[in-house]
């Protein structure tokens, strides 16, 4: 993997899948994007993403409170869906990847790093924040007919969170991360 030059990549001769390509400073870049994602995660989840005004009444809601609100209104099923796909999965991705990546900057691995790394890649497909973002836009269009709708600050943080999470996972390849992790764990023994 280290022998690949810039813009070179290895491709499967059968199915043409990308096996690996040259990525500069993978751990550093992935860590940087994960840290940025962590900051955006807090803004995106604790500030209002949509506010609604009908006459004198107004209502605004943050992502973090929306799961609780769904549960309070008697929809534990939907609350669970939002809690898992929008709150827990991205949190697991960010927290887990920082747990693995930060010590790797100095060539170390924390206890259980391998298990956490497995969880991070298992959680990957269940993180649906970009789908949720489209959902916010659609429901905004649906609501403009009945009320005045404002997008909150969290909406923009959400967009940046998507960019940073995608960039973080794009900066380092799964196989490269595992190779470095194996090296770091071996160094501890």
């Amino acid at each position: 993997m280290r022998d690949l030059a810039t813009s070179q990549r290895v491709v499967c001769p059968c199915c043409e899948a990308n096996l690996c390509e040259h990525k500069p400073n993978p751990v550093q870049r992935a860590t940087a994007f994960s840290l940025a994602a962590l900051a955006f995660y807090f803004v995106a989840h604790f500030f209002p993403f949509l506010s609604l005004e009908v006459g004198a009444r107004s209502n605004e809601i943050s992502l973090f409170r929306s799961a609780g609100a769904l549960n309070d209104f008697g929809n534990p099923g939907l609350a669970f869906v939002v809690a898992v796909f929008i709150i827990a999965a991205p949190a697991a991705l960010i927290g887990g990847s920082l747990y693995v990546l930060l010590p790797l900057l100095w060539g170390h691995a924390l206890p259980g790093a391998k298990l956490v790394c497995r969880w991070v890649y298992d959680a990957g497909p269940w993180n649906m924040i970009e789908v949720f973002m489209l959902g916010i836009l659609v429901s905004m269009l649906k609501l403009t007919k009945i009320a005045t709708v404002h997008l909150g600050v969290s909406f923009w943080a959400f967009a940046l969170l998507i960019v940073c999470l995608t960039a973080s996972f794009g900066a380092i390849e799964r196989l490269e991360l595992w190779r470095r992790l194996e090296h770091a764990v071996g160094g501890l023994r």
Binding site: I61, N75, Y121, P125, L134, L175
Partner: protein, 213 residues
């Protein structure tokens, strides 16, 4: 060992009893049972891949019916009373009110993608039995994996509307039973795509690039 070399002919890692770990990609002897690097179970192919994929897809087919027939949400307002609508009725409403882009997005995400996804998973299961164009089937598989999650958009729209539009007697929105049924369809098809081992397509084709023969 002889059974294995019959099933995996040629100079491949599988023919020599080497498997790549599903989790971390390390190549190790499959007879050792678990990956020396990450501890995950080692298999040449995902165990019972086709049976599991078919079972999950069938479950998704069954749930697809209530997901489309039952109401996905009910709007209760002071002026119009309670009004329940299914997914397809929601699309029609958007279309008739002139919101064409939204109507198209919801139609593709909620109606077209789930059907195409179920059909393509079934066709992949066929392709894993006998297959002449493995590269085509592989492309279908990749597309299925990428596109599937976007079907969740309608479920999220309902969740957002229900949590935001709570204005007491003036107007409130309640989710219908179809929302969770639809969510289950998406989750089941995602699991079905995940349990499918795409290398089965290439096993069925028996095709290898010249340099490996």
């Amino acid at each position: 060992m002889s059974v294995r070399s019959q099933r995996f002919p040629g100079h491949t890692a599988a023919a020599r009893g080497l498997a790549a770990c599903h989790v971390c990609g390390k190549v190790a002897p499959v007879d050792s049972g678990s990956c020396p690097r990450c501890g995950a179970g080692l298999h040449l192919r995902k165990p019972k891949s086709l049976q599991r994929t078919m079972a999950l897809t069938l479950a998704a087919c069954v749930l697809y019916v209530p997901a489309n027939l039952l109401p996905v949400m009910t709007v209760e307002s002071l002026t119009d009373g309670a009004e329940a609508s299914s997914i397809i009725e929601g699309v029609v409403t958007f279309w008739t009110t002139g919101a064409y882009p939204v109507a198209v997005i919801i139609f593709i995400a909620s109606i077209v993608i789930p059907i195409l996804k179920i059909l393509s998973i079934l066709s992949l299961c066929m392709a894993a039995r006998s297959n002449r164009r493995p590269i085509g089937a592989t492309r279908i598989y990749r597309l299925t994996e990428i596109v599937g999650r976007w079907s969740m958009v309608d479920v999220f729209v309902v969740a957002i509307l229900v949590s935001v539009v709570q204005l007491g007697t003036l107007m409130s929105i309640k989710p219908g039973p179809a929302a969770l049924a639809f969510c289950s369809v998406v989750v089941l098809t995602m699991l079905a795509a995940h349990t499918f081992d795409q290398r089965l397509i290439w096993d069925a084709a028996g095709e290898q690039p010249d340099e490996l023969k």
